[in-house]
Symmetry: C2
């Protein structure tokens, strides 16, 4: 009997119409059976948020050999939760998110809806990978990422990932990728985050903007360094956020 | 010269009208100067999400000796980011979130807007604490938590917290609190997460519900165990989510 092809659940946070998810699907179809459940509108910056105050729904868009596509009114993490209990007939072998239009390295991991997909898949016990490209262009060039996406996905299918561990993969926006680096999450901070517009009378409104300050810029171990220097950055990421270094010390506090 | 009183930024995810934040303010006023910037509507389950597609605004509600209160149209994490760059005249000594109406222990840390406040404060380099009570009742009894809130806040003001580290504090819903336990994040999963309602024709809609399955229920180190057994659970939490255990191993993969 032929071995069953891997079942891969795909989602993103830029929404079902983004170029990045089309490109990801194209890269993944040769590797496995692909089921897509993606937000029907862009949901950037939604982290692991869930829809708790209204119901959500999904709709079939396309059913082809090896590819089924749904759109969903929920958040990226909702998409994963809903797919597991509705359209998937078995536990998937992999959850893959992206390819995001924009950098999710460093502290951006905490705001990213792309990584919301990934962390949700990981919490459900499935090896999960997020792919992001450091370009916000709607028509960005994802082609150079293709061979790396396939290589990384195949490696994870072959080897698995440890429990509670997922991958945050970021690509610099260049045709000349220099290879893969396994990285730590760069330390840094967003500053000057708000653009202030005067409104009627004394009112003001504020748009989120911001500049990222890398406080550890020369550290070659970091994902931000890798991206600045033309490498594909893989940051192994945990959903067990216990700060173990403080555990024993704090026991003497009270 | 008298020592300056600690400046404490307060926010939450249940919104400015929730009883939990009023109670938290009451507990904190004897300790320091309190500035509140809280969402104008409930924002449960919004994690670290940010408002990226529309502008936000804030409004002064009350200015009293040692207490200034604003409401904000953004998410919990937006509230922190906006307060830092607008209403605060110096970097606060502490960011405190809550008291949440509902349990944020275990994997809930990833979905919690309360912890979104805390992680944002932490990323900005300020010691940050989230307080949550295991009751969704709008009129829940926060009184038993009061002495512990003061004790924990004072301890953090005195000792500080290590970089990239914050606290997730959860209270069981009981008058008979048995004391504090320093905990790890419990392993577990949400299952049966959707209630399916038939709509017109073939349509369905789905409400998020769910049952939490504690896969490590007998482990006395865990926050979920502490809560079930009547203890105040403090889970030291990191915003550096690098999975260090996988770093070296993965370098041999490619």
């Amino acid at each position: 009997m032929e071995k069953q092809r891997p079942l891969i659940l795909v989602s993103n946070d830029d929404g079902i119409t983004a170029k990045g998810i089309s490109e990801l699907i194209k890269f993944l179809r040769p590797i496995g059976e692909v089921v897509v459940m993606a937000p029907d509108t862009p949901r950037s910056g939604t982290a692991c948020s869930l829809t708790t105050k209204e119901p959500i729904h999904y709709q079939l868009l396309r059913k082809d050999v090896g590819l089924t596509v749904y759109k969903c009114s929920g958040t990226p993490a909702d998409c994963v939760k809903l797919a597991f209990e509705t359209v998937l007939d078995r536990k998937p072998d992999l959850v893959v998110a992206g390819i995001n239009h924009g950098d999710n390295s460093s502290v951006n991991v905490h705001y990213s809806g792309t990584m919301g997909v990934v962390m949700e898949g990981c919490l459900k016990g499935v090896p999960s990978i997020g792919f992001s490209l450091c370009s916000f262009e709607p028509n960005a060039d994802f082609e150079p990422a293709g061979p790396y996406v396939r290589q990384i996905v195949q490696a994870v299918l072959d080897r698995g990932l440890p429990p509670l561990t997922c991958l945050n993969v970021n690509f610099p926006d260049t045709k000349e990728l220099k290879g893969i680096r396994i990285c730590e999450q760069a330390k840094g901070q967003w500053t000057n985050e708000w653009e202030n517009f005067a409104h009627r009378g004394d009112a003001h409104y504020y748009w989120l903007v911001g500049e990222f300050v890398d406080t550890d810029a020369d550290n070659e171990k970091n994902d931000h360094w890798a991206l600045r220097n033309g490498y594909v950055a893989i940051t192994p990421t945990t959903v067990d956020v216990t700060a173990r270094a403080l555990l024993e010390d704090m026991k003497t506090w009270f």
